[in-house]
């Protein structure tokens, strides 16, 4: 473990923690623009989190310790994930502890705790949200792993920094396997982050909500942590996508660590474009019925399998 590695690790974690709410704010702003509304401030998520931290936590009468512990565990898992995903540099000492499969495991850990906490109070909303979240989860997880497998087959490694190193050193061209995997990954990210075709982050209508249904009983600091964790999750997914499919600007191993200064603006620029693209997708598509989700995620899954087959057949 080098000093530079340690520094880039800390820097990256700090940037993820600080930028994640900003990304959510930016996506919300774009969504408002695209639907001709007056946009809220891009800093709104920060104010929201600050306000929530100051409030008294109201916990339901029959909540168990699991309910109160879950926000911290989910937040911890997302921070851990943020430390693995190479957003700025690939020299990440911590990434040795957890590879792409462990990353998916971390996301699953957070999801299971969210679902358990939602069932803890025993309201019909909570268990409805938990059931739907686990439903979307088991459909999305194989597709996500297939995408990561495609990338690992190309680079011969499941460690994310090594994958990004390999992908960043390839010639600039459109690889069919990567193109398929990219589409699949986008679809999975939409589902996993409770975005429009599968879920709607802005709704509180019981027929449609998934993620929000699980948060209904949370308030104050617990809610703040969960909102922050959700923002981190979106940030992590965006960074995985950017690192796999647009690995430009990331400081790959072997380069001077001063290049980090250039990596941060590159990341922000990519996130701005990515956030706008997300808002565009959300604005253009309609929320689908929950039982259409298997079709949607099945398509993502087939695309990911196709990417893997194409990679095996063409070697590209």
């Amino acid at each position: 473990m080098t000093v530079a590695g340690f520094l880039s690790q800390l820097l990256q974690l700090a940037i993820a923690l600080l930028l994640a709410p900003l990304l959510v704010g930016w996506v919300n702003k774009c969504r408002a623009w695209l639907s001709n509304k007056t946009a809220p401030s891009i800093l709104l998520p920060y104010r929201m989190i600050r306000k929530l931290f100051g409030k008294d936590a109201v916990v339901a009468d029959n909540a168990s310790p699991i309910f109160r512990l879950t926000p911290y565990i989910v937040f911890g898992a997302m921070c851990c994930a943020a430390a693995i995903v190479p957003s700025l540099a690939t020299d990440l000492p911590f990434a040795q502890a957890a590879d792409a499969i462990a990353l998916v495991g971390l996301f699953a850990l957070a999801r299971v705790f969210m679902a358990l906490a939602a069932m803890d109070i025993g309201t019909s909303f909570g268990s409805l949200g938990a059931r739907r979240e686990m439903f979307v989860g088991f459909l999305a997880e194989p597709a996500l792993l297939m995408v990561l497998f495609t990338a690992s087959l190309i680079s011969g490694s499941t460690s994310l920094p090594t994958i990004v190193d390999t992908l960043a050193h390839r010639d600039l061209a459109i690889y069919p396997s990567i193109a398929f995997a990219g589409v699949a990954f986008t679809m999975v990210s939409l589902a996993e982050n409770a975005r429009v075709p599968v879920d709607n982050p802005a709704t509180h209508l019981e027929l449609t909500m998934i993620h929000e249904a699980m948060l209904l009983e949370y308030s104050a600091r617990h809610l703040a942590l969960l909102e922050w964790a959700a923002a981190l999750k979106l940030f992590n997914y965006s960074c995985i996508g950017l690192a796999l499919f647009f690995p430009f600007g990331i400081v790959v191993s072997g380069t001077d660590w001063l290049a980090l200064l250039g990596a941060a603006p590159a990341l922000i620029a990519k996130l701005l474009v990515g956030g706008f693209a997300l808002a565009l997708i959300e604005t253009l598509s309609a929320k689908m019925r929950i039982f259409r989700a298997p079709e949607f995620l099945g398509t993502a899954f087939m695309l990911a399998v196709l990417a893997m087959l194409v990679n095996l057949l063409l070697g590209a």
Binding site: V59, A97, G105, V112, M134, F138, T158, E217, R221, L312
Partner: protein
């Protein structure tokens, strides 16, 4: 001179039998049996586990020990042998048996059907038979032990034999066990290759040619698969597990299913000298089909022990898929990859023994506290039974394959193995692998769904019945047993490299390569090939997550206030909220039932508009009953009726049969 390990193992078997016999002598002395005999059995289990551990830990080279006991039929003495493979499964038996026996001390109540002394005998005979299966070194003693195991467990399953359904479940189990045993017998018959010598040593030295190795392999897969619960012979599991007392379910699911895995490994890699690639493909396909089938059915169950039984089917499927992959690698000479896959297989067997025993024991405590097995009548037990709830949480997370617990390690290793497959020379197999890996991932993701359902409906939410308010937490002995298994799940999850070091002697023995020295793993970092390729360190991950959690707690509570106000749950302005408005077990499983509808045989009854007493029910059944078993049963009936025609009941007709038979024989055998 200190005694040899094998002698100690034999001593443990004898001790178990002796403890069982003591129970028989005083069958109604309840306190003596539960407070003395079962703890003594647990101590024997611990000793056995330690012996097996020492054998594995001290054998960097092959350590094989053989002995011949002058027991059994004349000229057919018992051949016994202790090698790393046996030692590993003995470790599994000893380590989980310790906890289950301790738990049993607190579990059995005087009223449960069979007399306690008889239960004690059957239980310890079951343990002894399993240990004997693992050290058997000829087909004769293997079959004796195998059948004793089946019989002992059959009597344990029907402990509450006054209930007709339980008797039915027991007979079904006995039937399938014997169908399997016949196949195993035929398999050994094939393996001895006409030499007439049924010792395993002879089978090892023989080289079979032609179609015979394949016949032997598939007989073994079928025979042991019947015990393990592979498709289509899985049907006894969901019937027998709910019928059996919980410690017995734990022992059967956690340990007995693993003896079948042991059998497959023993026959395939030890007794046969070569493997063909297509066996691997067949085992892989069968394993994955079993895994998916098991987990999909688990999601639809509303009886907590049936749910766990189907989840066991899933895990056995994953293990057999791993065995298939090992065969595939081995047949192409990729010994290093075969070693990694075999490590995943054995690791998962060990993990499953721990977390599934833990979950079965937890259901036992819930059952005792509430008298209820149906998920629809439970709920909110985390407030009444915090001990059981917290240890079950660990078991559930491990079973769902989540890091940093043990279930994840073996799944991680297996997925790594799938990623190595493109190095195989056959492009057809290479194409197959993405699909196989995807099926495995789907099964694992679904098991998280199942486990959330299991835990959420039993322990979380509000109690669905009024009498749950009087549920009591587990007693002392039960807690110790549960805690032991919980710690096992955590330790196996956090220190994978040390566990793999124990498995490596088996890799050397069966596939001729080690998994661990090949990579540059140290005690902290698990890296099968090299750290660039893939690495995993649960300890670092756990420390980081815990550090973030504690830091966040500190920061939040220091900078803001830690005030908490308790209030009723938000009711959307509709105050008449009842616990019945929570998801039922059926409701929670409904999405899976809808998505995978073709897997189920669904019977729906919809009320018509004019019904006075409208009723709605859905029944989701197993296709295998109607597609596989019912035709066989009908066929048997038809055959019996045809045979019945020649049974006239008149002596003259029977004499005529003898006459014609004699004529035919005279004609044929001149």
């Amino acid at each position: 001179m200190s005694p040899q390990p094998l002698e100690l193992v034999i001593a443990a078997i004898v001790a178990w039998l002796a403890i069982g016999t003591l129970g028989l002598i005083r069958p109604r002395r309840f306190r003596f049996i539960t407070r003395v005999l079962f703890p003594a059995g647990s101590a024997v289990g611990l000793a056995l586990g330690i012996v097996a551990f020492m054998v594995l830990a001290q054998s960097p080279h092959l350590s094989v020990e053989e002995t011949i006991l002058p027991l059994g039929l004349p000229d057919l003495p018992f051949h016994l042998r202790l090698d790393p493979l046996s030692a590993f499964f003995l470790l599994l038996l000893g380590a989980t048996g310790t906890a289950i026996s301790l738990y049993s001390s607190g579990y059995f109540r005087p009223s449960e059907g069979t007399a306690p002394g008889l239960i004690c005998f059957q239980y310890h005979a079951f343990l002894a038979a399993m240990a004997l299966v693992l050290v058997a070194d000829d087909a004769y003693v293997f079959m004796v032990a195998w059948e004793s195991m089946a019989l002992a467990s059959f009597f344990l399953v029907i402990t509450e034999h006054r209930i007709p359904e339980i008797r039915r479940a027991g007979f079904l189990y006995l039937l399938i066990a014997h169908v399997g045993a016949i196949a195993i017998l035929l398999c050994f018959g094939t393996l001895q290759g006409g030499s007439g010598d049924y010792t395993f040593a002879t089978m090892r030295s023989l080289h079979m040619t032609g179609v015979w190795p394949s016949v032997a392999f598939f007989l073994a897969l079928f025979g042991f698969g019947a015990k393990a619960g592979l498709l289509p012979l899985h049907i006894w599991l969901p019937e027998a597990h709910p019928a059996a007392p919980s410690p017995v379910s734990a022992l059967m699911s956690g340990v007995m299913l693993k003896t079948a895995i042991y059998g497959i490994l023993r026959v395939t890699f030890d007794l046969m000298d070569g493997q063909l690639w297509w066996w691997g493909v067949a085992a892989l396909a069968l394993g994955l089909a079993t895994a998916l089938f098991g987990v999909i059915f688990a999601a639809a169950q509303s009886d907590m022990k049936r749910l766990l039984a189907y989840s066991s089917i899933e895990n056995i499927g994953i293990i057999v898929a791993g065995i298939g992959l090992t065969i595939l690698f081995k047949s192409y000479g990729k010994t290093l990859l075969a070693a990694i896959t075999l490590t995943a297989v054995l690791y998962h067997a060990l993990n499953h023994a721990f977390f599934k025993s833990l979950l079965f024991l937890a259901t036992g405590s819930v059952l005792h506290a509430t008298n209820e097995r149906s998920l629809g009548k439970l709920g909110g037990l985390i407030h009444r039974m915090p001990w059981v709830a917290w240890v079950a949480l660990v078991g559930v997370l491990a079973c769902a394959g989540l890091p940093p617990l043990n279930g994840f390690v073996s799944e991680w290793l297996l997925l790594q193995a799938f990623l190595f497959t493109p190095s195989l020379p056959q492009s057809f197999v290479n194409m197959l692998v993405p699909v196989a890996a995807a099926a495995l991932v789907l099964a694992v993701a679904l098991s998280a769904y199942v486990m959330v359902k299991f835990y959420g409906v039993i322990f979380l939410g509000r109690p669905r019945e009024a009498n749950l308010a009087y549920a009591k937490d587990a007693g002392k002995f039960e807690r110790v047993g549960l805690l032991w298994l919980t710690l096992g799940c955590i330790v196996l999850g956090i220190f994978p490299v040390n566990v793999i070091a124990l498995i490596d002697p088996i890799n050397t023995m069966l596939v001729g390569s080690t998994a661990i020295s090949a990579g540059n793993s140290n005690w902290l970092l698990l890296a099968p090939i090299n750290a660039d390729r893939s690495s995993y360190s649960p300890l670092i991950m756990l420390v980081v997550i815990l550090a973030v959690v504690l830091l966040t707690l500190q920061v939040v509570h220091r900078h803001y206030h830690g005030r908490v106000r308790r209030a009723p749950a938000w009711d959307c302005g509709f105050p008449a909220q009842t616990p019945r408005m929570q998801d039922t077990a059926e409701g929670f499983g409904q999405p899976v039932r809808t998505v995978f509808e073709p897997f189920f045989r669904i019977e729906r009854h919809l009320p018509s508009p004019s019904d006075n007493a409208p009723m709605y029910f859905v029944k989701a059944d197993d296709h295998f009953w109607s597609w596989f078993y019912v035709p066989i049963a009908r066929g048997a009936e038809v055959l019996a009726r045809l045979v019945g025609y020649i049974q006239q009941g008149r002596i003259s007709v029977y004499l005529a049969y003898s006459f014609f038979t004699l004529l035919a024989l005279l004609f044929l055998v001149r």
